[in-house]
Symmetry: D2
Subunit: 163 residues, 4 copies
């Protein structure tokens, strides 16, 4: 089995309801990923960085993510990311032509609101990465898998599709 690192950067996946002001906020730690791994009865290393809604992600943030991957001892990565700019970040990482495997995933519905989609996305990304031996940047979302140029968010249907 491959060793892999889960890098959690924020996004809807990590949002939680704040009853004081009625908003959904990105939790600033890896507690959602930790909860999924605990309930899934397994362990993977998790690194928490950035912690933003993906609409707020800057080039500076993407540089931080790339540097984290480059400097890591791992060769295989799951990146949990907001859905709105997942493809942008994927392209940014792909342009760096790193000799590693990176699978981006995230959620349309926060895990804390309904756990199924977020847990399934992350778990499917981990399964896909196990047998993905070609260097590159991939997306695993809503049961579709592939190179980041093939998996796109369909904003009308509210889900990712393969094309």
């Amino acid at each position: 089995m491959k060793k892999l690192l889960i890098i959690n950067t924020g996004g809807t996946f990590n949002k939680q309801y704040n009853p004081i002001d009625g908003t959904l906020d990105v939790i600033q730690d890896s507690s959602i990923v930790d909860t999924i791994l605990k309930k899934w009865l397994c362990e993977f290393e998790v690194l928490n960085i950035i912690g933003k809604d993906s609409l707020d992600m800057t080039t500076q943030d993407r540089m931080e993510l790339l540097a984290t991957i480059n400097m890591s001892d791992y060769d295989d990565f799951i990146v949990i990311h907001g859905t709105d700019t997942m493809e942008l970040t994927a392209e940014y990482l792909a342009d760096a032509e790193i000799e590693k495997r990176i699978v981006l995933t995230g959620a349309m519905v926060p895990y804390s609101i309904d756990p199924t989609e977020a847990a399934a996305n992350m778990a499917s990304a981990i399964g896909y990465l196990q047998r993905q031996d070609n260097d590159g940047v991939y997306i695993a979302m809503n049961g579709v898998f592939g190179n980041y140029t093939k998996v796109k968010k369909d904003r009308v249907k509210g889900k990712f599709i393969y094309r």
Copy 2:
């Protein structure tokens, strides 16, 4: 992307609380799998057969499963199965040396009681199967993946491990 068939045979994955007599019963249709796919925002074909706790599975049931796979137009299968005899069924299927790819999965905790583990197991099996190109019988459970001879239920820890 690969086309695949989900064959649902029952097991803890499909159990639901029956308030009249206080027992957990295996639901006799694919409603749990359908619910996960709907929430995961994707579609796969699902076939429902057997519908048993895996301790009650007979050789007759395993013959039915094997025949279903053999006669199917699909080459790639997810089999949802009870955990207690998952390895037995895997071995039975492997002995038939079919030129297809089969990933068995299931759950330690019923989806209807806590959805995370069951959804993650099934989704991780689907991700793994996407990139598994070698014919054979595999198990994907609790974040471990591999040939059925490598992934075993640890009855003390209450989860599947790789060895």
Copy 3:
């Protein structure tokens, strides 16, 4: 046992996550109340009006609520209402000096995000109303009960308290 009418006017109690635009919207029907009653294994008549976040409630809306209560054949009412202006609506209803019993309730956390608080608030209001024989306007929230002048939202603690 008393016969009672549940009037659902909206508020956080009825909010649901909208994955297309990432917002929490007030559902425009009584599906949340219906779900609670079905799971609680009981039946009460439910009337759906207004359907607003309580910050958006106007005097016109409060007139509609008062008229609905006045013209109803029922003498005992549960009113599900947003928490931000629950006390204002309670005072408006109390000023009308109707010879009926009205218990307002609602939720700090949407039922669809975490069901416990919303279900407990509504059920506690129904239990309280069963034995409340004095005409007037009451609030039942977060395990505190009493005349609307005694039960207040504590905006710092994010819950209702008795004082």
Copy 4:
């Protein structure tokens, strides 16, 4: 507001899935009640005794419950109890003619499997007790309330009804 004591004696209300042996076991502490109170954003004193499925409750257990109520400084009690012998325990307590108010409640579905019914039953019992000023033994279940002689478990429908 009345001060009240919650006495937790076990029953389906407190059952939790045990993934090692696939059974539903009564949790031997008050963690379920504590969870409900925390999510409901309120505090009540909770006492944990007996911890049994109500089919296993003995006369000795009922004596312990009666003694606990008799010796307590409280005058108002919620008793969480299994549904199968709730009426028997109610009658046992009523025969003692204590000058206190006792409301029995419980659940058809474990809180850990689906939280709505259990939370609603307990909360409705608390609301009912707030305004129940006559000494006696009552049952609050599934939206029906009354003297223990009036509220009965309907074993065919799988819920409590008023008659």
